[in-house]
């Protein structure tokens, strides 16, 4: 479990996060949602240590990441996997070499076993046939799947996904969402997904944190989100005319139920 306590982040010109308290649970897909510029990415960057929070604490199963020294952080980071918005695969390495990279760097396994583990991960994301290709030869969805395989190769306890569906078509987005959800349950990982894709929210959102202008505005599940009375959340969730109509018909349907 990851617990955030009174987390704030201030840049010289702007305060982005204002005292956020939140818990992200094991074996669940935890979502951080919010409008562009609300502070989602800053929050995730603080969680993984790419940014230092101004105040507050981040507890990884009780271990305070903020007060750790460099060595302790490096060790904890080996328990993390991250899927970046742009996949961040290493251009000069093949897909197989990309997935093997964390194993080559930190695993005591032999070359044969490392390769076997990487191929298992690629098989899990249905990309075994593309193992010898280079990232530039892959489609956006395939790159995301390769990045997932790399992120899970060291069997991390914590998986972070920064807008995993950005730039993907709705069908491929569903495949990626399903894959992340299945891997989370299989490995009992604490997965945190930073998204504003409503399909993801409704499909795999088991614990959703809504951030509004750097403040924690709402937290709940995907089933609770539809019946929430939080006006800011509703404005965000039902921003399009289509979704407003959908909500209206959902409410009408509920009224007609005996």
């Amino acid at each position: 479990m990851i617990e955030i306590k009174s987390l704030s982040k201030e840049f010289p010109d702007k305060k982005v996060l204002h005292g956020i308290d939140c818990r992200f649970f094991d074996g669940k897909t935890n979502l951080i949602i919010g409008q562009s510029g609300s502070g989602k990415t800053v929050l995730m960057n603080c969680l993984v240590g790419l940014l230092e929070p101004t105040e507050g604490h981040i507890l990884y199963d009780g271990r305070n990441f903020v007060t750790m020294n460099k060595k302790e952080r490096t060790l904890l980071r080996r328990e993390m996997g991250m899927l970046f918005q742009g996949s961040a695969l290493f251009d000069s390495l093949s897909v197989l070499e990309n997935v093997m990279f964390p194993l080559d760097m930190f695993s005591p396994l032999s070359y044969k076993d490392r390769k076997k583990r990487a191929q298992e991960c690629l098989d899990r994301v249905n990309l075994i046939d593309a193992q010898l290709k280079y990232p530039a030869e892959l489609s956006g969805g395939m790159q995301k799947r390769a990045a997932i395989a790399r992120a899970i190769s060291m069997q991390p306890k914590y998986l972070f996904c920064d807008e995993p569906n950005s730039g993907l078509d709705p069908k491929t987005s569903l495949v990626i969402d399903k894959l992340i959800h299945e891997i989370t349950v299989e490995n009992n990982m604490t997965t945190i997904i930073n998204t504003h894709d409503m399909n993801s929210v409704m499909g795999i959102g088991e614990n959703i944190l809504y951030i509004y202008q750097g403040h924690k505005e709402w937290q709940g599940t995907s089933s609770e989100i539809l019946s929430s009375n939080n006006q800011r959340l509703n404005d965000f969730i039902f921003a399009s005319d289509f979704s407003k109509q959908l909500r209206k018909s959902f409410e009408e349907h509920e009224e007609h139920l005996p």
């Binding site: 970046f84 918005q85 080559d104 760097m105």
Partner: protein, 232 residues
């Protein structure tokens, strides 16, 4: 800087990267070094013979001057200025692109010391390869000078050989090698600095690449003055 020179997490990975950088930064530069040195060697010989040598000078002056220019300045300093353009922009744009596409962030989150993993092999590889490049440059320059003798008939091969062998000081060669090692360190570290700390997008990567070349070149020119004075 401190993080760059920390002990690599896995020596196996360091050497893998080191060999690939030797190929990318060193082996891939041999062609341009040979080509430029050949023509510059030939041109120096022609210029000295036609514009400097006169009746009251010994016949070996052209060969002697060509050798001294190649050994003392061209194959170390000028060749490193040229390499600053080729290798420096390569390093800065590679690291800059890795930064803006979050590949460096990915390394950091994996727990890898990205500065040590990416920069140290580049510095080590260029410092290792530069003495060879200097040697190739001197050799190609001399071959170019001989081409003017055998193909252009500007000077007789005997006069050129006499000049090349006249009053040879071995230290001049080592001076060029020592200077080039310093310059290689400047090229790799300055270019890595500009590439590694890029913020923004493709425009910033382009700017970093330009800044890397300009800064490396200026530093090479300044340090050349001091190194020449110290080593002479």
């Amino acid at each position: 800087m401190g993080r760059t020179f920390q002990r690599p997490e896995r020596m196996r990975m360091f050497f893998k990267k080191y060999y690939s950088e030797i190929y990318q930064l060193g082996i891939n530069s041999i062609g341009i070094v040979l080509l430029i040195s050949f023509f510059i060697g030939a041109v120096i010989c022609i210029q000295i013979k036609i514009n400097v040598q006169s009746a009251w000078m010994p016949l070996w002056v052209s060969g002697f001057t060509t050798r001294e220019i190649l050994l003392l300045e061209f194959s170390s300093s000028i060749m490193c200025l040229i390499l600053a353009g080729k290798v420096g922009s390569n390093i800065a744009s590679e690291l800059g692109t890795m930064r803006v596409t979050q590949q460096i962030d990915a390394l950091e989150i994996m727990g890898v010391n990205s500065a040590s993993y990416l920069i140290l092999p580049k510095i080590a590889a260029l410092v290792t390869m530069i003495p060879f490049l200097v040697t190739f440059s001197v050799s190609a320059g001399m071959v170019g000078a001989y081409a003017t003798a055998y193909l252009g008939h500007i000077i007789t091969p005997a006069d050129l050989t006499a000049g090349m062998q006249h009053d040879f000081t071995q230290w001049y060669f080592w001076m060029g090698v020592i200077k080039s090692v310093f310059f290689a360190f400047i090229i790799a570290s300055v270019s890595s600095f500009y590439g590694y700390f890029v913020k923004g997008g493709s425009i910033e990567v382009g700017k970093a690449s330009t800044n890397a070349v300009v800064s490396s070149s200026v530093l090479i020119l300044f340090s050349d003055i001091f190194l020449t004075q110290i080593l002479s």
